[in-house]
């Protein structure tokens, strides 16, 4: 249940009873001389779905990418501030980004299966991390494909090419692949924007299922999707966090006029 107390009045402090999984403090990101994210503080609660919404260029994807240091690969990107996951600093000098991304998986807008078999796609991560036992690998494939609600559709053709799957199936395969390394957090960047309504509904249903085991942060341009799948919603505008609170409140009675204008379709 939601905490009706003061915490909901403070943007950036999640008003749910869940413990904080990811704590972000004073996060600032520059791409060259452009400030993409301006002093953002926000707590992502564990086993909840947190949606990031806002118009293009508002910083929501930049924010998402900071959580598993995907911005490290962007030339000219500078990140200051603090991000911790279960108290472990994400930007400490001794952190290995590859190990971090094992804890914090990511699903992209465009499904990107490898040109390999379905089986090999799913076990790619575990193999990289040294898993060789065929029995264990089979278990991982079944478990994650079931979690991704894809098992029944592909169990008889695990050796078939992943590229022969439909768009929605490919995206669910990518989710299975991300889950195979047993992450704690799953980041999703517009995971359903290229899918038809039925495939989208399956992904959304999957997000509901997954949150009991994972902490999910999702970026979406589809406000109804944010409203449907998330527990908390953060609204970003021009690189700043404008409002963060329980989704049902943000969509029925936002506190900030900027949020209200955006979600009701008043773009000025």
């Amino acid at each position: 249940m939601l905490d009706p107390g003061l915490s909901r009045l403070r943007p950036g402090v999640a008003s749910t009873e869940a413990p904080i999984k990811i704590a972000v403090r004073d996060l600032v990101v520059h791409y060259g001389s452009t400030c993409a994210l301006d002093t953002v503080s926000l707590d992502v609660p564990e086993h909840r779905v947190t949606a990031l919404i806002g118009p293009s260029g508002c910083g929501k994807s930049t924010f998402l990418r900071c959580l598993n240091r995907m911005n490290d690969n962007v030339p000219g990107a500078r990140v200051t501030g603090q991000v911790t996951i279960d108290g472990d600093p994400v930007y400490a000098p001794d952190v290995d980004p590859v190990a971090l991304r094992r804890r914090v998986g990511m699903i992209f807008q465009k499904s990107n299966p490898f040109p390999k078999s379905i089986f090999d796609n799913v076990v790619f991560g575990p193999r990289v991390h040294g898993e060789r036992d065929p029995v264990r690998l089979r278990e991982i494939v079944e478990r994650t494909l079931r979690q991704a609600a894809l098992w029944d559709e592909v169990k008889d053709r695990l050796d078939g090419s992943a590229l022969e799957l439909s768009g929605g199936q490919q995206q669910r395969l990518c989710i299975a692949r991300a889950l195979a390394v047993e992450p704690e957090v799953v980041l999703m960047d517009e995971p359903a924007s290229a899918l038809d309504p039925i495939a989208t509904a399956k992904i959304e249903e999957l997000i509901h299922e997954l949150k009991s085991a994972y902490t999910i942060v999702i970026v979406t341009h589809n406000m109804q999707q944010a409203a449907r799948v998330s527990d908390l919603t953060a609204y970003f505008y021009l690189g700043r966090l404008i409002e963060f609170g329980p989704t049902e409140r943000v969509f029925t009675n936002p506190e900030r006029p900027e949020t209200e204008d955006y979600i009701t379709g008043r773009f000025g």
């Binding site: 969509f251 204008d261 979600i263 379709g265 008043r266 773009f267």
Partner: protein, 227 residues
Amino acid sequence: MPEHTDRAYEQQLGQLRTAVLEMGGLVEEQVGQAVRALIQRDEPLARGVIERDHTVNRFDVEIDDLSLKLLALRQPAARDLRLITTALKITTDLERVGDMATHIAERAVELVAEVPIKPYIDIPRMADVARDMLRRSLDAFVREDTELALDVCLSDDTIDQLHEQLFRELLSYMVENPATVSRAMRLLFVSKYLERVGDHATNIAEMVIFMVKGRSIRHLDKVPREL
């Protein structure tokens, strides 16, 4: 408040607001004419009110239709969502007020046929209070004025007291002279109808507060003094 980027949507929300107001104006007029028909013993006027109830009912259906269409096609959020749900609920109250006006007109038709038992003083006063509450609740709706809405909720006591007073008075008539029972009962009904109009105006005012603040003050033991 900036306008919607989608002008057609902005226009439809405007239509919805206007329709609620037109319906409100119509039922307020209905109550006024029904009470005037009673006091002036004007049967054709009373019959006109009864006939016009169809128009009130048509508004009810049309506003429901438009609201449903907006909900289904626009997926409204925040204040737009609250405007539409408020319109849906206000319309139900207005339709009931329309029914009250019709009932008053029906009693007026019956009473025209009989000798009046007393000059009507409290009933016009109640009607004034009821119509004033209704008018102010609709003004509060247009102007999104929560202070005015709260004020309407607070004036519900006045009309309740007038009804109470009239009840005691009519009761004494009936006790003294049983021949007055059928006429006194009809007047008592009218009083009750007007008291109900006050209740509906209060409901509307409460919905206006919800629409503006996103907070419900309905079903509280006491009307809050401020929001």
